[in-house]
Symmetry: C2
Subunit: 352 residues, 2 copies
């Protein structure tokens, strides 16, 4: 007998890192910022007039877009926003990747790309990273239906130089090239200066990492006005009001405090440098990170076992057990104190 | 030459009602609640620890789902949530409407349904309402790939009796039947009691209208656990964290105050009854409304002209100029004072 189940879209969902609700753990598994958001965020929440909530927000998320325009010195017409960069990326896949040709992304990368491609029935091809985990630029200069590359890449943390990104943009005038800069604020060189030169470029950002606002779900993107207009059109065919009024005020408050933002990013970079050097001393190897995590493996350690042992000790990191990533753990950069506790555990662990 | 524009998804976006940013207008155009949200909402905002925002919310929106479970006396497994009911409906279309057969919805109805169908390339057929604006139940009992009906319907406000809904559910075991109850709290009889009997039923709700939280973007849905699981799977293939931490706290606070909720709905129903009777006296005709709006026409008045004249006088209502709706205006029920000012304008207008 026919059933409603026959017409259900079959998917293999993305699995996010755990959000354990227990206290006193060291949480280095979802690349969250160890520092709270800018002080203005608490002030914005306290000052928010709840009576405003009876009305819809502006459909074009005006307050947030204006704050982004001011913070990044780019016109409002160049800016798109969404419910985290995942929403921005999902909308971008839906809007721009409608070719019969496969879209391209690295084989080791953000594991949501193939999930979106499957969801929207977009053909795709994984382009193998080179042996040193670097992106094989030439392989992205072949015929395709679209390109998406995180820079720095995740979970490797490796940065692709701007000259290589430009090569990919120049080779792909018939494709939208998405540079997913979720982690760019931790020392990478952004592709934003290429916007004026390449109308096929979309730069995607998030407030979840460098702005300490994972709990607020704010992503944004920059592109030429025509490309951005297409994105809004699809967004408006999906949900007219994705950015709630409180979240817009929170995002604007975070953007207003660039001193705190710069300071926080600098602190994380400093901790990363020190942590990386100590990890090397312990015999771990990893690609050089320009992100707020490192992707480390050790010749004498089984990554799956270490992952489990760390968890048992209340230290959560991220493990991707399939394929080339199976020997490494992705470790978020937390506070100095958190990294010290992890290092102490590892020193002990390696002695056994 | 090939261009990235060749692969853009072409859409005709939904047009929401205006959100004018001027003060001292009477805003009866987007079915917002004239009363503020429950007092607990302001308290939840003031008490929210901004430091929590550095972390991701629970991916399963636990806090909000638990509050809904408690408020509606249904198990958590029966509950799905999203960024407004538009997000819930978009996800539902994507999840359940994957047949080659057309989905069915009324010809005069929420004007987002055909937009989603176009966006996701779902075939659809509009089923004409009968002359008295009522839903033609029999026409929904023919072969289809899915059914979506708002109850009460918009913009008519007319309620379909539960017995008719049950007829549609019983006739469609091979289709998911979505009953969009955005306006059910204003006096309608909900399909929720049918959940235990029909596993093809999805009941969709929103906090935007009866809970005065349009600005917070909270929608939810009830269905059998298997159907709800499919929805979460597709949601998790789209965006792992759609419900931000503040919004979850806001929604839970609104749900906690059932006395305020009942009181507010009762006030709006009372105002609607009085307004409807005065409108009848002025010669307006309209289907009986079970929603927080009425859909009124007048034999001597051109609706487009009245819409423009109202707007010029600072009174915003909604006008759908195409097809059968072109002679009517959808007027949200505001406060008694707002309706009195509208009535005064109309009395004057009809004298001229």
């Amino acid at each position: 007998m026919a059933s409603w189940k026959d017409n259900v879209r079959a998917v293999e969902p993305y699995t996010p890192g755990e959000q354990p609700q227990v206290k006193d753990i060291i949480k280095l598994n979802t690349n969250e910022n160890p520092y709270p958001p800018a002080r203005g965020v608490a002030e914005a929440l306290a000052a928010f007039d709840a009576g405003r909530l009876r009305k819809y927000p502006t459909p074009d998320a005006r307050e947030l877009v204006e704050a982004l325009s001011k913070a990044y010195g780019l016109p409002k017409e160049d800016i798109f926003v969404g419910v985290g960069s995942d929403d921005v990326l999902a909308m971008s896949f839906l809007t721009f990747f409608n070719s019969e040709k496969p879209i391209l992304f690295p084989d080791v990368t953000y594991s949501f790309y193939d999930v979106w491609a499957d969801l929207f029935k977009i053909p795709y091809k994984r382009v193998p990273l080179q042996d040193d985990w670097s992106v094989d630029t030439d392989a992205f200069c072949r015929e395709n239906g679209g390109v998406v590359i995180p820079n720095p890449n995740a979970p490797t943390g490796l940065l692709l130089p701007l000259s290589e990104i430009e090569k990919i943009l120049a080779a792909n005038p018939a494709s939208v090239v998405i540079i997913d800069e979720a982690y760019i604020d931790f020392g990478g060189e952004s592709a934003l200066p290429l916007l004026s030169k390449y109308e096929n470029l979309l730069v995607v950002r998030t407030m979840s990492k460098s702005r300490s606002l994972a709990g607020s779900r704010i992503g944004f993107a920059f592109g030429n006005p025509e490309l951005i207009r297409y994105l809004w059109d699809v967004r408006n065919s999906f949900n007219s009001y994705t950015m709630d009024s409180v979240t817009q005020a929170v995002g604007a408050a975070a953007l207003a405090d660039s001193a705190y933002f710069n300071d926080t990013c600098a602190k994380i970079i400093k901790t990363r440098t020190r942590f990386a050097s100590e990890m090397k001393e312990l015999g771990f190897t990893f690609p050089e990170s320009s992100a707020n995590f490192i992707f480390a493996s050790h010749p004498d350690v089984d990554a799956a076992q270490l992952f489990a042992d760390l968890k048992a000790a209340g230290i959560f990191v991220r493990y991707f057990p399939k394929g080339r990533t199976r020997d490494s753990l992705r470790i978020t950069i937390g506070t100095d104190e958190e990294m010290d506790r992890l290092l102490a555990f590892l020193k002990d662990y390696l002695k056994k």
